[in-house]
C-alpha cells in the first residue's frame, strides 16, 4: 500500500547525498578474509523476507497476470470455480473502450499538473528557506513537519471541510470579496474545480517532503562557488542555472520521479473526498480499476487495468532505479 495512499505511508526515498568531490568510494567490504566459509547463512537470513514479499507482492503479481487473461466474476469468487480463459479479450476490450483512454488522459493530465506544481513550489520554498531569518525558517519548518505528519485521511477530511459547499471556509471567505457570491457553491459539480481541490490536497501533502529533501541538497552547494559566479557578473537566475541546479540535480530528478509515481497512483484523496463513491468523471486509473473490479464485479477487467497501469509506470520505475544506482544506493 505504498505510493498512492499517502506521502507518509510511502517511505520517502532517502535523500541521497551527492558525493562532493570525486572522493574514492570505499570499496564495500567484499570478500571477508578467507573467502565465504558459511555461504548458507545469508540465504537463511533473507529467506523469511523473500517468502513474505513473494506471498504478498510476487504471487499477486503473477495472479494479476493470470486473472487478466480470464474472465473472473462474482460467481467464480463465491463458487470457487475456475473462471474461463478469454485470452487477450480483456485487454482488447479495455484498449478499445474510449472511456479507458479518457481516464488515462485525465490521469496523465492530473499527474503532470500535480508534479509541476509540487516540484515548482517545492523548489521555490526550498530556495526561499535559505534566505529566511532563523525564526521564520523554524516556524516554517514546524508547519512543514505538521503537514507531513498529517495522515492522508485526516488531511483529506480537512480539505473536504474547507471546501464544503455550505459550511466551508473557502466559500465564506470568497463571498466576503465584493462582487463574488460563493455561498453554497459546490466545488465538485465541475470536475475541473473538483480536481483543483483534490490537487491542492495532493500538492499540500507532498510539499514538505520535497522541500525538506531539496533544502538538504541545497546546503551542499558550495557558497564560494555561488559568490564567485556573482562576482563574475552572473545574475540570480544564472547562478541558479549554472551553479546551484547542477549540484541538486540528482536529488531533484529523484524526487520528481517519485512524485510522478505517487501522483499517477493517486487514489485515497479522491476516494475519500467523494465519500467512498466517486463519480465516474472523477476516476483516475487506480479508481477506474477499483470500480471495475468491485462495483462492476469484473475482477479480471480490474486486474487488466491495474496491469496496464503498472506497465505504464514501469518506464518511470526503471528510470528511478537507474538514478538510485547512479547515486550509489545499490552498489
Amino acid at each position: 500500500m505504498t505510493a498512492a495512499d499517502t506521502k507518509a505511508a510511502d517511505p520517502p526515498a532517502a535523500p541521497p547525498q551527492k558525493p562532493r568531490t570525486a572522493a574514492p568510494v570505499p570499496p564495500r567490504g567484499t570478500a571477508r578474509p578467507g573467502g565465504t566459509p558459511r555461504p548458507k547463512l545469508p540465504y537463511l537470513l533473507i529467506a523469511p523476507a523473500i517468502v513474505a514479499i513473494g506471498a504478498v507482492f510476487g504471487y499477486p503479481l503473477v495472479k494479476t497476470v493470470i486473472m487478466s487473461f480470464q474472465d473472473m466474476r462474482r460467481a467464480h469468487l463465491w463458487g470457487g470455480t475456475t473462471p474461463p480463459w478469454v485470452g487477450f479479450e480483456q485487454f482488447t476490450n479495455i484498449l478499445g473502450d474510449s472511456e479507458f483512454w479518457w481516464v488515462t488522459f485525465r490521469t496523465v493530465l492530473f499527474m503532470i499538473a500535480c508534479v509541476t506544481a509540487t516540484m515548482g513550489l517545492g523548489l521555490s520554498v526550498a530556495l526561499l528557506m535559505q534566505r529566511l531569518s532563523t525564526w521564520v525558517r523554524l516556524l516554517l519548518t514546524g508547519a512543514l513537519v505538521a503537514a507531513w505528519a498529517m495522515p492522508l485521511l485526516v488531511a483529506t477530511s480537512i480539505f473536504r471541510w474547507l471546501s464544503d459547499s455550505d459550511y466551508g471556509v473557502i466559500n465564506s471567505t470568497l463571498s466576503k470579496i465584493p462582487g463574488l457570491d460563493f455561498q453554497g457553491h459546490n466545488w465538485f459539480l465541475d470536475p475541473w474545480q473538483g480536481f483543483t481541490v483534490i490537487g491542492a490536497v495532493v500538492v499540500w501533502g507532498a510539499i514538505p517532503f520535497v522541500v525538506v529533501t531539496l533544502y538538504a541538497a541545497l546546503t551542499q552547494v558550495p557558497r564560494e562557488l555561488e559568490e564567485a559566479a556573482q562576482l563574475d557578473g552572473a545574475g540570480a537566475f544564472g547562478v541558479f542555472r549554472n551553479v546551484v541546479f547542477p549540484v541538486i540535480k540528482p536529488v531533484f530528478q529523484m524526487v520528481a520521479t517519485l512524485s510522478v509515481i505517487w501522483d499517477f497512483n493517486v487514489f485515497g484523496q479522491i476516494f475519500l473526498m467523494r465519500g467512498n463513491k466517486p463519480e465516474p468523471e472523477y476516476e483516475l486509473l487506480g479508481l477506474y480499476s477499483f470500480s471495475k473490479a468491485f462495483d462492476s464485479a469484473s475482477f479480471s477487467q480490474g486486474t487488466a487495468i491495474a496491469l496496464i497501469t503498472v506497465l505504464l509506470l514501469s518506464g518511470v520505475a526503471v528510470y528511478y532505479l537507474r538514478q538510485l544506482m547512479k547515486t550509489g544506493e545499490v552498489e
Binding site: 537470513l45 503479481l61 485521511l153
Partner: protein, 277 residues
C-alpha cells in the same frame, strides 16, 4: 549593498510567513473545528476564531459506535505487523549489510521495486486470494499485508545502520569467542537500536494511517480499524464535521507524538541509509 540585503531579507521573510500560513492553515482549521461549538460549525459564515471552546465534538466522537473496538483493531493489526516486519527486516538487513553473497544485489533491487507497485494493483488479487483461503474479515490477512508493505523500507533503513557499525567490533567479539549470531546480538544489536526504533515508528505510522486494504479486507463493523471507522461520520444525510475533526485529532495524536519523538532519529536514519553504499 547592506541596506539592499536587509530589504531583501524583509521581502523573503514576508514570503516565508505567507508559505507558513498556507501550510499551517489546514492544521489550524482541524484543531479549531474540533473544539468549535456545533452551531458555529453549521454556520454559513465561518469565522477564523471560535467564539467559545467545547469538548462536545470529542464526546460525540468517542460515543460513536465501535470507537473502542476500532482502537483495539488498530492496535492489534499495527502492533503485530510492525513487530513481524521488524523481526524479518532486521535479520534480512543483517544479511545484506554484512554478507556478500550471490543474489544480494537482485534482492536489494526487489526491495526498491516492490515499493513502486501501485497498491490498487495488488488489492484485487489479494482480495481474491484471501477470499479463497477464507481469510477475508480476519485480522491476520490485513496483518500480513501491512507487514510486507512496510518490510522493504524497514529492511532498507536498518541496513543503513548495520553497515555503519564497524566490522572490526564484530570481528573482535568473534575473536573473543562469540559466534556470528552471538556477535550480532551482543555487539551490533545494541548499536543499531536507535535505527530499529526509527524504523519501527516509521512502519507504525504507515500501518496506522493505512485504510484502503482495511476497508476492503475487513467487513464487520466491529473489526474496522480507526481509519475505516472514521468514515462513520460521513453519511448520505451529510457529514458531522465537528465529530469528524475531533476524531481525526484523536487518531492523529499518536502519529504526531511519535513523529516528534523520533524525527531527529529518523532523519539520521534516512541519511545514513542513503549515504553508505
Amino acid at each position: 549593498m547592506r541596506p539592499d540585503r536587509k530589504k531583501h531579507r524583509l521581502v523573503y521573510n514576508v514570503l516565508g510567513l505567507g508559505v507558513f500560513v498556507v501550510m499551517a492553515f489546514p492544521v489550524y482549521w482541524l484543531l479549531v473545528s474540533a473544539f468549535r461549538p456545533n452551531h458555529e460549525i453549521r454556520s454559513y459564515d465561518q469565522t477564523l476564531w471560535p467564539s467559545s471552546v467545547t469538548l462536545d465534538n470529542f464526546a460525540r466522537a468517542v460515543d460513536a459506535p465501535n470507537f473502542w473496538t476500532a482502537i483495539q483493531s488498530s492496535l492489534i493489526i499495527c502492533g503485530a505487523s510492525v513487530a513481524g516486519a521488524m523481526l524479518i527486516g532486521t535479520i534480512a538487513a543483517f544479511a545484506i549489510g554484512r554478507f556478500d553473497f550471490y543474489g544480494r544485489k537482485p534482492f536489494m533491487t526487489v526491495l526498491i521495486l516492490v515499493q513502486l507497485l501501485p497498491p490498487t494493483a495488488m488489492l484485487i488479487p489479494i482480495y481474491v486470494q484471501l477470499n479463497g483461503m477464507g481469510a477475508l474479515n480476519e485480522y491476520w490477512g490485513v496483518i500480513v499485508v501491512y507487514l510486507v508493505s512496510v518490510l522493504p523500507f524497514t529492511t532498507w533503513m536498518i541496513r543503513g545502520f548495520v553497515i555503519n557499525v564497524p566490522r572490526e567490533l564484530e570481528e573482535a567479539a568473534m575473536v573473543d569467542g562469540c559466534t556470528r549470531m552471538g556477535a550480532f546480538w551482543r555487539v551490533i544489536f545494541p548499536l543499531v537500536a536507535p535505527g530499529l526504533a526509527a524504523a519501527s515508528i516509521f512502519a507504525l505510522i504507515t500501518a496506522w494511517n493505512e485504510y484502503l486494504f482495511a476497508y476492503i479486507l475487513l467487513q464487520d463493523n466491529d473489526k474496522y480499524t480507526l481509519n475505516v471507522w472514521l468514515m462513520n461520520f460521513t453519511t448520505d444525510r451529510g457529514t458531522d464535521y465537528g465529530a469528524l475533526m475531533a476524531a481525526s485529532v484523536l487518531i492523529a495524536i499518536p502519529v504526531v507524538v511519535f513523529f516528534m519523538i523520533v524525527q531527529k532519529k529518523m532523519a539520521a536514519g534516512l541519511t545514513s541509509g542513503a549515504v553508505k553504499g
